[in-house]
């Protein structure tokens, strides 16, 4: 029924998990297992650690799980298979027991009331097997088919293709409700609502766009905790004309070699840089990262304006907490006191640790509310300078209600797009307004600008300087167009780059050094 390679790998994982306590040093094992549904082969103890860490945090923190494979059609009993996992530790799948499928009877209508279904199943399992289950996972037969075809493609596909395939499967599962988990974890609810918000925009398309704007990089992320840290190496090389080459590697730290001493941030990052041959190493405190992510997944989608402000504030707080929750090698230039002092001579305060996380969201949202409005339809046109063929632009509609993003729509009606006169933003706005309701503002952004911003503030974060920011401000003036001209855009356009930067930095960076 299920892909043989996937099955064998899964049983191997279960076997390892069941004997992990009796293995002397599990991290030193030579054998590897594959992360389910991915091409990555890793140490089984690392996978054990990941499950131990992430499953209770994001899926379910109680023991014993029942997997139920169900039919896509309406039958007298839609159950195709029952698999009971008795877990001694939450998230650690160690033993699997196949149960007779007749032992539980489920109809399609039962799926509308998972509360009742769960209670009924729990009583049956308790009576027949003497254990209490904490979670049921209902998987439609079509999910297995999708997983099988994905697994078959894995051996032949590149990393880029693998990610796209995985994202497509996730989207199909969510859109067609092919998987149910009860109690429903926040992450699943978050993803389901995100699919609704995106209104037909494919996750894989979003990934394709992100991939296309991120420059090449080679970075090692070190996730620190009281246990030996986990390494995630991500390498992206834009060598191929169509898609870049991506490489992902997960590893556990060799404690002795890197002088690991149960501390928040790893001390010897430079040593790691040489050993892993990466341009940069970013060390992140694991617990802070997990807290942030779990708060993100707890968020209702579409989120209220206040919630977005709060999450944004937390993200900014995380960024400003350099040396506390994260650090990196090479060190950011702006963390150098002498550099900051020299910049300050020009009247500019540029200090990462003084990022005004408490004031920036209010500043940005205040401007959006005032000049865009509480209800608005924003049209974003993404252009590509090098691609001058007509209709090569991507049109995205952002619908805002009471200051919160309510819906995102991707306009891909080719017949409609071919009729649009793409010469002026005014005419685009009028044409789109006719079909999609009044368009408040049109933003035309070139991919080149997004690339430049990402390169300056993300990939080359360590190189941020007064000049690199000034360069971005100049590009912003050149590669962004707004119609109608809202006052913030007029100000950006008309004010000298240096003065504008000075004004903005006085808002985004705290004045007082101490």
């Amino acid at each position: 029924m299920i892909n043989q390679i996937f099955k064998e790998n899964w049983l191997k994982i279960l076997k390892f998990n069941s004997k992990v306590n009796i293995i002397e040093d599990p991290s030193e094992l030579e054998e590897t297992v594959r992360i389910p549904l991915t091409p990555n082969e890793i140490n089984p103890f690392l996978l054990y650690r990941l499950f131990e860490l992430l499953y209770p945090k994001f899926i379910n923190d109680q023991q014993n799980i029942l997997d139920i494979v169900i039919s896509d059609f309406d039958l007298d009993n839609i159950v195709f298979g029952l698999y009971l996992y008795e877990t001694t530790k939450p998230g650690i799948h160690a033993r699997i027991k196949g149960l007779p499928k007749e032992s539980i009877e489920i109809k399609q209508d039962d799926l509308h009331n998972l509360d009742t279904l769960f209670n009924r199943i729990q009583l049956i399992i308790q009576k027949d097997h003497g254990i209490k289950i904490s979670c049921i996972r209902l998987i439609r037969k079509r999910t297995i088919d999708l997983m099988n075809s994905h697994c078959e493609r894995l051996t032949k596909s590149t990393y880029y293709e693998f990610i796209q395939s995985l994202l497509d499967i996730i989207q199909i599962l969510l859109e067609h409700e092919l998987i149910f988990i009860y109690p429903e974890p926040n992450i699943l609810r978050f993803l389901k609502s995100s699919v609704t918000l995106l209104d037909g925009i494919k996750f894989s398309k979003v990934f394709e766009f992100i991939e296309s704007v991120i420059p090449s990089f080679n970075a090692l992320f070190v996730i620190n905790s009281n246990n030996p840290p986990i390494f995630l190496k991500i390498k992206k090389e834009n060598t191929k004309p169509l898609h870049s080459e991506i490489e992902l590697n997960l590893k556990l730290l060799e404690s002795e070699k890197y002088n690991f001493n149960h501390q928040k941030l790893l001390p010897d990052l430079k040593g790691l840089q040489a050993d892993f041959k990466t341009e940069k190493i970013i060390s992140i405190d694991q617990s802070s990262l997990l807290i942030f992510l779990s708060e993100l997944f707890e968020m209702e989608v579409p989120p209220s304006k206040e919630k977005v402000k709060l999450i944004f504030q937390k993200l900014l707080y995380g960024i400003r907490s350099y040396d506390l929750y994260w650090n990196m090698v090479p060190k950011p230039k702006i963390s150098n006191t002498l550099v900051r002092f020299l910049i300050r001579l020009f009247g500019i305060n540029l200090n990462l640790k003084k990022l005004s996380h408490w004031a920036i969201p209010d500043f940005i949202f205040g401007l959006i509310d005032t000049y865009i409005g509480l209800n608005a339809n924003i049209l974003i046109i993404l252009t590509e300078q090098r691609n001058e063929t007509p209709n090569s632009n991507n049109l995205m509609l952002v619908r805002i209600e009471n200051g919160s993003i309510n819906k995102l729509e991707y306009i891909n009606d080719k017949k409609f797009l071919s009729k649009i006169d793409q010469e002026s933003l005014e005419s685009i706005r009028l044409s789109v307004s006719e079909k999609f309701g009044f368009i408040t503002t049109v933003f035309k952004v070139d991919k080149f600008l997004i690339k430049a911003v990402l390169s300056a503030f993300l990939i080359n974060f360590h190189k941020i300087s007064l000049f690199s920011i000034l360069k971005v401000v100049k590009l912003l003036k050149k590669h962004i167009q707004v119609y109608p001209e809202i006052p913030p855009y007029t100000l950006i356009k008309n004010r000298r780059s240096f003065s504008l930067l000075k004004d903005v930095l006085s808002i985004v960076i705290d004045k007082h050094e101490f």
Binding site: S356, D369, T370, Y371, E401, F438, P484, I486, P488, S506
Partner: protein
């Protein structure tokens, strides 16, 4: 006319609600006839987003309905908010091409060459009206309803006020002999008289109060405390007073609680007896809209590090101070933290400030009535000359007691914002020059933004004692 019809419509979209409402009142042909010239009066307050100005989708609906009725010419327009030019607001909203594409003409009312004015005598006053409005066969009021600090809601009667330029909207302080200007709230009385005078010149044929999306909390501009509530309702009729009365009733506001409607009743400008209003659509008694109105006391606007105290004040100063304080709260997050402490005093004989630093005196009343108050002066104690005292003590001079010298100095930590009422935007310049741009970076940036569309004039009277 002794009776009228008003429709209360609930729908899934504002455009559907308007079409349905007009249909229920007999169709657009009952309001616009073939060959008519129609002027659609909208809200065009500032270059801000919805709901500061009218919903553009509803403008489209009205234009399409007028075209359906075979109107000869459809004009759309309004005078914008104080000292703003229609040109700058139209550019910021991109409204002209949108209206033209729909088959109507957007009117730049302040362009007197294209749209000349005509003098009209009302109650001994001469007011200049744009000819295009006076000569139109039909006037349609398309009004966005939000909360308002003076009149609870921005009803359609208030919308008619911007049929004339700001010059004729301005209320001059006119103190009648023997009458207490503040006690009688003469400003508000004069304002109501002015609004109704203008309303009486050209009565609308169709009035739409669009409260489908209602801005509650703080308004009618978008502030930090604003919240957009979806009511799914609109109120339509041909009698503005009746439509406004029914609109206010939806919020459980009676005629007697609305000064402007009481005055309209006294002047018989419309129907104010509910039995004479035939209600169509939703049942008035079934709808009770619960919304947060604007604060009635300025002290209730909770601003970080700001102590707000008011003495007796007129509605003009109240309104401007209300907007200034809300702008501060919305756009000065960082500044308010840097300032640490400020006192905002308004009105006649306001209570004393919390401290002697950063005192903002808002309006002529506050400035004049506090001329001799204690906080205008600060007492400086000269530091002791310890060396001299020690020397005297060694000489066993009995007179060598502490000789603390006390001096009185003018308190320079005061910023005066003169005017009755002062203009909120002009106040920004005074505040920036008082605090310095490094202390108020948010305000400095916001002021630069405003300069891109607002014609600021330097108020020579503004004094900053620093």
């Amino acid at each position: 006319m002794n009776s009228t019809e008003v429709a209360i419509i609930k729908s899934n979209s504002p455009s559907e609600a308007i079409t349905d409402g007009i249909e229920k009142l007999g169709g657009i042909s009952g309001f616009v006839e073939k060959g008519d010239q129609v002027f659609v009066k909208i809200n065009l307050r500032t270059p801000g987003g919805f709901p500061v100005n009218t919903n553009f989708d509803t403008i489209k609906t009205i234009i399409n309905l007028c075209k359906e009725a075979e109107a000869k010419k459809i004009f759309v327009g309004s005078y914008p908010f104080n000292r703003l030019k229609t040109d700058s607001i139209a550019k910021t909203l991109g409204i002209q091409s949108y209206i033209e594409k729909l088959g109507a003409e957007f009117v730049f009312l302040d362009d007197q060459n294209k749209y000349p004015l005509k003098s009209v005598e009302i109650n001994g006053k001469t007011i200049e009206f744009p000819k295009v409005i006076l000569e139109s066969d039909r006037l349609i009021l398309l009004n966005q309803v939000s909360v308002d600090p003076l009149f609870k809601c921005t009803i359609s009667l208030l919308n008619t006020y911007s049929l004339v330029s700001n010059q004729f909207q301005k209320i001059q302080k006119n103190v009648r002999s023997g009458k207490d200007y503040l006690h009688l709230d003469q400003y508000k009385q004069d304002l109501i008289t002015n609004i109704l005078d203008i309303f009486s010149v050209k009565k609308p044929s169709l009035v739409i109060n669009d409260l489908f999306y209602f801005l509650e909390g703080a308004g009618p501009f978008i502030y930090k405390d604003s919240n957009l509530k979806r009511t799914n309702l609109i109120v339509v009729g041909n009698d503005a007073v009746a439509v406004d009365l029914i609109t206010l009733r939806l919020f459980e506001i009676d005629l007697l609680n609305s000064d402007i409607l009481v005055e309209a009743r006294n002047r018989r400008l419309g129907i104010t007896d509910i039995p004479n209003i035939k209600l169509i659509g939703e049942n008035l008694e079934d709808i009770r809209l619960s919304v947060d109105f604007c604060v009635s006391k300025l002290e209730d606007i909770n601003i970080k590090n700001t102590y707000v105290k008011a003495g007796r004040n007129c509605s003009g100063c109240f309104k401007e101070a209300y907007h200034l304080l809300n702008l501060m709260k919305t756009h000065m997050t960082k500044d308010l933290k840097y300032i640490i402490k400020q006192s905002f005093l308004i009105g006649e004989k306001p209570p004393k400030p919390e401290s002697l630093e950063n005192i903002i005196l808002f309006g002529d009343c506050a400035i004049e009535s506090t001329e001799n108050r204690e906080f205008r002066k600060i007492i400086i104690t000269n530091s002791k000359d310890y060396f001299e005292t020690a020397k005297q003590k060694l000489k066993k001079d009995s007179k060598a007691q502490d000789k603390t010298q006390i001096k009185e100095k003018v308190n320079k930590k005061i910023v005066e914002l003169p005017g009755c009422p002062p203009s909120r935007f002009d106040c920004f310049n005074s505040l920036i020059s008082y605090y310095g741009k490094s202390q108020v970076p948010n305000l400095f940036f916001f002021n630069n933004l405003i300069k891109t569309y607002y014609n600021q004039v330097t108020n020579k009277k503004t004094k900053v004692r620093d």
